[in-house]
Structure formats: C-alpha cells, structure tokens
C-alpha cells in the first residue's frame, strides 16, 4: 500500500502509469485562481458528471471555495471535512484504493499539497429496466424480475421487507472481476450455522472471475457431482422474499438477475410461485398433477419398454393388441426406438435454445412434420413411441423450476438403459439407487428429501395440500 503523497505530480504519474493504454480513463487537471492545481480522474461512461460539474467545478472555477454553513478557509479544510456538495463522499488514503474506486466509476479529486483525495461516488451507467421474468412467469403475482444491477435488486427486496432484521452483507469475489455478492438473510430466522458455513465458503472462493451466480453456486454447493442442484436460483423478488421469511439465505450477485436461495430440497424444485397465489384448493390439484407429471417425465419411457418387451402380460389386453399392431412392421427394437426418439427430442430442444428467433418456425416444421410424422408414416418408428416420447417431454415442462427439471432429463436416460436390460427388475433397481442417492444428499445441513425423509409429519402436509395462510400460522381467523 502506497499512501497518497502530497506531491500532485507523483500521484499523477502513478495513476497515469496504472491507466496507460486505457482510452476510457479521463484525467483532467485545472488550475484555480490561487494557483492550486486540482486533478479530476474518472472513467468515461461510468460516472454521472452533471452533478459534479454543477456542484464542484462551477463553484471552484467561478466563485472560489464553497461557502456553506461556514466559509471554508482553505482547500485542505475542504478535503478534511469532505465538504463537497454531493451525498456519497469518501476520503481516500492509498493510491491502490483510488485506482479501485476509479475502476468502479467514482470520481477522484486530488489537489497539490494534499495527502488525501476526495472520492465522489457518482457511478451511473446504462442498465436494463425492470421487466417481467421470462423463465418463471406466473399467472398471478408480481411482474417484477431481478435485473443485472445488484443495487436495484437489493432495493426490490428492501421494498418488500421493511424491517431492520433484514441484513445484507456484502462480499467482493473474483480476483479480476471484484464481483459484488450480497448475502441477504433475516437475522434470527436464518440458521446461524448455515450462515457461518456460507460466509466461510464465500471467503474461500478463489476464482479469477464471477460471471454469473452459477459460478458461486458451484463453488459453495455441498456435492458438485450430484445431478441434483442443491441451490435454487430464481429471478423473482417475491420468491426471494418468501424464502427469506422462511429463514432461508439468499445470495445476490452483481451482473446477473439470478439470485441463489439455499438450502434447497427436492420438493422445493417441484413447487411453483403460483401455488401460493391461487386458491389453495386449486393448488392441491395442480400440485398432484405436477407430481404425477414429474414421475412420468423420467419413468414413462422406461415403463413402456419394461411393459411391452419384458412383461406384456401386465398390459391390458386391448391396449396390448393396439401396441402390437403398431409395432408389427417397425424395424428397430422398442428400446432402440425410444432411445432414438429421446435423442431426437432432446436434440430439437437443444437446437431450439440456440436458434435465432427468425428460424423458429422453420425448426418446428422440421421437428414436428419431418421427424415425427414422416418417421411414423414411413414405418420406421411406431406411433405409441411418439406418444410416449412427447408425453414425457411435455411432462418435464410441468416442473415449474426449469433447472429442477435437468436431473429428470438425465434420469430418464439412465432408467431407460437399465430397464432396457433388466425389465421391471432394473426399473426397481434404478429407483432404489436414485432414492439412496437422494436420501444421502444434503443441502447446507438440510436433508435433500426432507420432510419426507427424515419424516416430518407437520411439514409433509404442505407438500400436497397448501393450507390457507391463517391455518399455517396456527391461529384461527375468527378469534383474532
């Protein structure tokens, strides 16, 4: 750490050396009428200069030292008292600090003969306005989504929880990116042990850069080799708010609209924000359907293969005849057929994600017509397979949290393979292995399958039935 010297030339030389070959750094020196030289340094495009011009430059140039409550006698007094007519003002002591502040968009004012510098935090840059979240849209509820700017995001949470117990601790992570990460929690609600574990892990991150919250997620999660994510991500401030109130911990990362929520359990992944916005009786229906669908999304291809090729006696008579009739002329074994169609389906999906918007319709024509219809008409793929694969695909999207669906996509293949070899015996093995894995997994001290395993009778009811909020609180509405 080198402190600021009282010689302006030395300071200027240091800064010019730090910022050589940087076209966006502006270093402006001006001489006041009492021969004092002041130096303004800032990053072009990162600072809002209007207020600086109005409040600092104009008075200094045209009317000398500012005269506030009390006329200031010298420039040094102005530096000492931080008497600059701007709200967010700091005094810098070391040159490294100055460099850092300039890089963040602050304006630094140096004067000759002064061993300190005024740092005016006048950052202002172009940012995206608040929009409706694309990935997690709900029918009812807030239309706000997080944006890339972390201060906008924290303000969205602050606006929702107006209470001093909401704490937001800031961390700077990434050697070069110095990304700001905010750890938000409700003091007293959040588990202290989890909190200190998260803080430790955040401090131990040794990364060059944090581009997205996904980087943080991978650094701090308990088991990176599991296919199940142990941290939830969301771009909805209302979800973050309700999680905070439940005592969960939220990590906001600058530069991404995705906040991280932990701990996260398997069942959280199957819930949707809409569950809490619609009438609770309706929620029972939608949740039940969602559970059935999520089972279908990984099990149906495997069950189909097991039933038709290993245990045809288990299929009802007429259904079996229909399946057999459809299978009559197709060249591939059922297992290969399903596998091919699943690959095609996932391929289409992957292509759809990367496709330029204009090409979307072309893609759907190729996908639906050519691959689906033509394959059946040519007798290469049997019709039930198309039904099974598309039902599986659709079922997957009924899982509300998009990233909670990824593990199901992987299990789908694993189950298909093991069932293709062993029939229902293999299916049972697969399920057992899956359950063993899920039971042994945990997310920041919370077992991944809780409240089912370990069993918690009180909380398990909320998995299927969302009781009205006043019952949840344990009070009777009429009495209070």
């Amino acid at each position: 750490m080198s402190s600021i010297s009282s010689s302006l030339e030395a300071n200027e030389a240091y800064l010019r050396e730090q910022f050589n070959n940087s076209s966006d750094v502006v270093i402006r020196s001006l001489i006041l009428k009492d021969e004092t030289i002041i130096l303004l340094i800032y990053l072009d495009g990162m600072a809002k200069l209007q207020s600086v011009e109005d409040n600092i430059l104009k008075p200094l140039i045209f009317s000398g030292l500012p005269k506030g409550i009390d006329p200031i006698q010298s420039l040094s007094e102005m530096f000492k008292r931080e008497w600059v007519p701007l709200t967010n003002i700091k005094t810098g002591k070391s040159l490294e600090d100055l460099v850092h502040q300039i890089l963040q968009g602050s304006l630094v004012i140096l004067a000759n003969g002064e061993a300190s510098a005024i740092i005016a935090q006048v950052q202002d840059y172009e940012k995206r306005s608040i929009q409706e979240p694309q990935k997690e849209s709900t029918l009812r509820g807030s239309k706000e989504g997080f944006v890339e700017n972390i201060r906008t995001n924290t303000s969205m949470i602050r606006r929702r929880i107006i209470h001093p117990l909401l704490k937001m601790e800031s961390f700077k992570i990434g050697k070069y990116t110095q990304t700001e990460v905010v750890l938000a929690y409700m003091q007293g609600h959040a588990d202290e042990n989890v909190l200190s574990e998260v803080k430790n892990k955040l401090n131990m991150i040794d990364a060059d850069g944090i581009i997205d919250s996904a980087y943080i997620e991978e650094w701090i999660e308990n088991n990176s080799f599991s296919i199940f994510s142990q941290i939830q991500n969301t771009e909805r401030p209302d979800i973050v708010t309700s999680c905070l109130l439940e005592g969960k911990i939220v990590l906001l990362t600058n530069g991404t609209p995705f906040a991280l929520i932990l701990p996260f359990t398997f069942w959280d992944g199957l819930q949707s924000a809409d569950d809490y916005f619609e009438r609770f009786i309706f929620t029972i229906l939608t949740r039940t359907i969602r559970y059935i669908m999520s089972f279908i999304s990984f099990a149906l291809p495997a069950i189909y293969v097991a039933l038709t090729t290993f245990h045809p006696e288990m299929v009802p008579r007429y259904l079996m005849f229909s399946i057999a009739a459809a299978r009559e002329t197709t060249p591939f074994p059922t297992f290969i057929e399903i596998f091919l169609m699943l690959v095609v389906f996932d391929g289409l999906q992957e292509a759809g994600v990367h496709l330029p918007n204009r090409l979307g319709p072309v893609m759907s024509i190729i996908g639906a017509l050519v691959i689906g219809q033509a394959a059946v008409e040519a007798g290469i793929i049997s019709t039930p397979i198309i039904i099974v694969v598309s039902l599986t695909g659709v079922a997957g999207y009924s899982i509300a949290r998009y990233s909670a669906f990824f593990p199901f996509r992987i299990i789908r293949y694993l189950m298909l393979f093991i069932t293709g070899f062993l029939g229902f015996y293999g299916f049972a093995l697969g399920i057992i292995y899956l359950l063993i894995h899920l039971v042994s997994l945990e997310s920041f001290g919370t077992p991944y399958l809780s409240p089912v395993a370990p069993f918690d009778g009180k909380r398990i009811k909320d998995l299927i039935i969302r009781y009205p909020f006043w019952i949840k609180k344990g009070q009777n509405k009429k009495e209070n």
């Binding site: 080799f225 038709t308 090729t309 290993f310 045809p312 006696e313 008579r317 079996m320 005849f321 229909s322 399946i323 057999a324 009739a325 459809a326 299978r327 009559e328 002329t329 197709t330 074994p333 059922t334 297992f335 008409e377 007798g379 019709t383 093991i418 293709g420 070899f421 062993l422 029939g423 015996y425 093995l429």
Partner: protein, 386 residues
C-alpha cells in the same frame, strides 16, 4: 467420489452382463392367445388356440386393411396332455405363444363326459401365464374348436362376444378362479355356463353360426355334469348361489289379464338354519329390490293397496319358481348353493359326519326358499294410458 463412480460402473457392468437381455421379447414376436378350446381326441386331448392378428383388430393402424380375411387364426394340436399339445402348436408357430391375455377356455361337452376335468385345471393352476381370471364355459353339442372358428357379426372374435355377453348380463362370477374355489371347497359345487352354437340369420344375405348362452351346467364333486339348466332357471340358481346374476321376471297377474315385469337390483342371499334340533331344515332367504318396468294389467299403481298386493303376489310367485328350481337341483344332487359350506361353519362336527357323501345327503335336506323382494319404484310418471 472417483471410487464411488468406479464401484457403480463395475456393479452395473456385472449386473447387466450376468443377466443379459435374453428376456426381451418384442410385441411382434408374440402370438396373443385370446381363447382356447379343449376337445376330446382318441390320443387324449385336442387343444386349439384362437390367436389374434393385432394389425387386423386395430383398424386405424397402417397396414391393417379392411379386407375380408379374418382377424384371427385358430391353431390346434393333439396330445396326451395340455403341455404336449401346446408344444406341438408352438413348433408350428412363428411367434411365441402368449397365454396371459386369454379371456376364455371353452371345453366341449364330450370332453366333460369322457375326461376328468380337474386334471385340466392342474396345468392351468401351475402355469403362471394363466391368471385364472378368464372364464370357463362348456360348449353343448358341437366341438369347442368350432366355437373358436366362428366369427361374430358384432365383435372381432367369438370369445370376446361370449365374454361380453356374460359380462353385460350380470354374470361376472364365473371365472376359472371361481370354478377352482368351488371345486376345492367341500361344501359347494360349481356352476359352469353353457353355450351352444346355433344357425342364426344376421341379415337378409347371410346366416351365421353364432354361439349363445344356453344355460348353466351343474357339476358334481368330480366335475361331472349332472344336469343342465336353461338360462332362466340357471340364473335363478346363480342368484341363490350368491352370484347375483338374476335380471328380472315377468309374471302374469292373478286374473290372467295382462302381465307385470320387474327388473331386479341389489340381489342378496343368505342361508339360515331353522331353529330347533332338526339340522336338515334350511331357509334360503333371497333379497332384491324390484323396479316395475312394464305393466299390462288394469291395476292402478297409484293405489297403495294395489302396491301391497302386487308386492305380496310377486313374492309368492318368486317363491314358487325358486322352490321348483331348488327341488330340481336337489334331485340331481350337486349342492351348487353352498349349503354345505353353511353347515361347515355352523355345525362343523355334524358336517364332518355328513360331508363324505354330501351328494346323497344334500337330497335329504329340506330347503325352503324365502324371498324378500321390495318394490322400489313403479316407473309411472302419471295417469296410465287408457
């Protein structure tokens, strides 16, 4: 973590290679047997399988043409027992026989006479492919194979037609399982539905050989036919045996002027021993709810007196009819009502001395039918047409 992954891989490889995928059989390598027929043959037994051609049955699928060719094949072979005959059939087939989807086993009357049926059920009981939920019927007169060969004007297959015919007429308790249960329990005797094949004109152009329900065969302890009831008597017997199949009745009114028709629901039956020491006296109580469906008499059913009278008369008539049927069955001997089972439970020691020759002892029992039929509805919305 690495070790874990390695272990998983090794386990999987061993598992997969040790069991292999030899069990895989595609649906187009299977021949679905939907009905089987068993006939007498000099060598022992002739087994016929009715095998579905799936592409002909589900019409919409590509390749399934609506040509005149049949949507099934019947393949038969003879042998000393079912297994041998089955092996012979399998050798002639390009596909593996799949017997799990069988609906029905038809056994010819001739086979019932000349063979011990209980031995037939030995193979059916052992074979896991046979879930015993199929129905067993007897074909009167002709050969059971012919029953399979016939096609049906409405249904795809004659077996499906027979099964549905029984299903829609409320006869649901005639599965092979029920037959085996009745056979194994000492205090009751099985009832087997009987079909016979008749020429029947289906439209102006053609007549077809169609099998219809003829009645019920009453079997004794050794599964020999003791007598065949027609379908009305048969369903009365089934009602009194607790199989809930009776559908309705038409009775002429007292003055011989017009008839009353009733439909019955909620059929129940119970067996009581008469109070007192005489164990041979049994009361067979049957219960039902009746709905008046047709009334061609001059009775005005808005009169309460008439209602009471009709109900009383209905009970009397039913009592008379059922009593006749019971007497007929008792003459033949086999206890299809399960009265023996009642004794077995109520007087186990007494039953032990009787069960040895229950066929004869049953004839001595004095069975009184006591109907309790309540008229629930008259089905009239207003004044009757004059």
């Amino acid at each position: 973590m690495n070790r874990h992954a390695m272990l998983t891989c090794i386990t999987l490889i061993i598992l997969l290679s040790s069991t292999g995928c030899a069990d895989i059989i595609e649906p187009n390598q299977l021949a679905f047997v939907i009905g089987s027929a068993i006939d007498h043959d000099e060598n022992g037994i002739e087994v016929s399988h009715q095998i579905v051609i799936p592409s002909k049955i589900s019409g919409n699928v590509k390749g399934g043409s609506s040509s005149d060719s049949e949507n099934f094949v019947v393949i038969s072979a003879t042998g000393k027992d079912i297994f041998e005959a089955n092996m012979k059939i399998q050798r002639r087939m390009s596909r593996r026989l799949m017997e799990n989807h069988r609906m029905l086993i038809a056994i010819s009357e001739e086979y019932f006479e000349k063979h011990d049926i209980s031995k037939l059920f030995d193979k059916l009981n052992r074979d896991p492919a046979n879930n015993l939920s199929n129905i067993s019927i007897m074909i009167k007169g002709g050969r059971a194979k012919d029953f399979l060969m016939n096609d049906h004007p409405l249904e795809h297959l004659s077996t499906i037609a027979a099964q549905k015919e029984m299903d829609f007429n409320g006869m649901k308790n005639f599965s092979s399982r029920q037959l085996v249960i009745d056979y194994l329990s000492e205090g009751s005797r099985p009832l087997v539905p009987v079909f016979n094949i008749k020429e029947s004109k289906v439209n102006n152009k053609e007549t077809k050989q169609i099998a219809f329900l003829f009645g019920f065969a009453i079997l004794d302890k050794n599964l020999k036919v003791k007598g065949i009831m027609d379908d009305v008597e048969g369903s009365e017997v089934a009602w009194m045996a607790g199989k809930e199949t009776f559908q309705g009745v038409t009775i002429p009114w007292k003055d011989g002027n017009g008839t009353l028709s009733f439909k019955f629901t909620q059929l129940k039956r119970q067996i009581y021993s008469n109070k007192g020491d005489d164990k041979n006296r049994i009361i067979l109580s049957v219960k039902a709810q009746a709905y008046l469906i047709e009334n061609t008499t001059s009775l005005d059913m808005f009169e309460v007196d008439n209602i009471i009278e009709v109900q009383k008369y209905l009970n009397e008539q039913i009592q008379k009819e059922l009593q006749e049927t019971v007497d007929k069955v008792q003459e033949w001997g086999p206890d299809v009502f399960g009265i023996g089972e009642h004794f077995h439970r109520k007087y186990p020691y007494w039953w032990k001395s009787k069960k040895g020759n229950w066929e004869e002892n049953f004839k001595e029992i004095d069975v009184k039918v006591k109907p309790n039929i309540r008229i629930r509805s008259f089905g009239t919305g207003g004044e009757r047409l004059k």
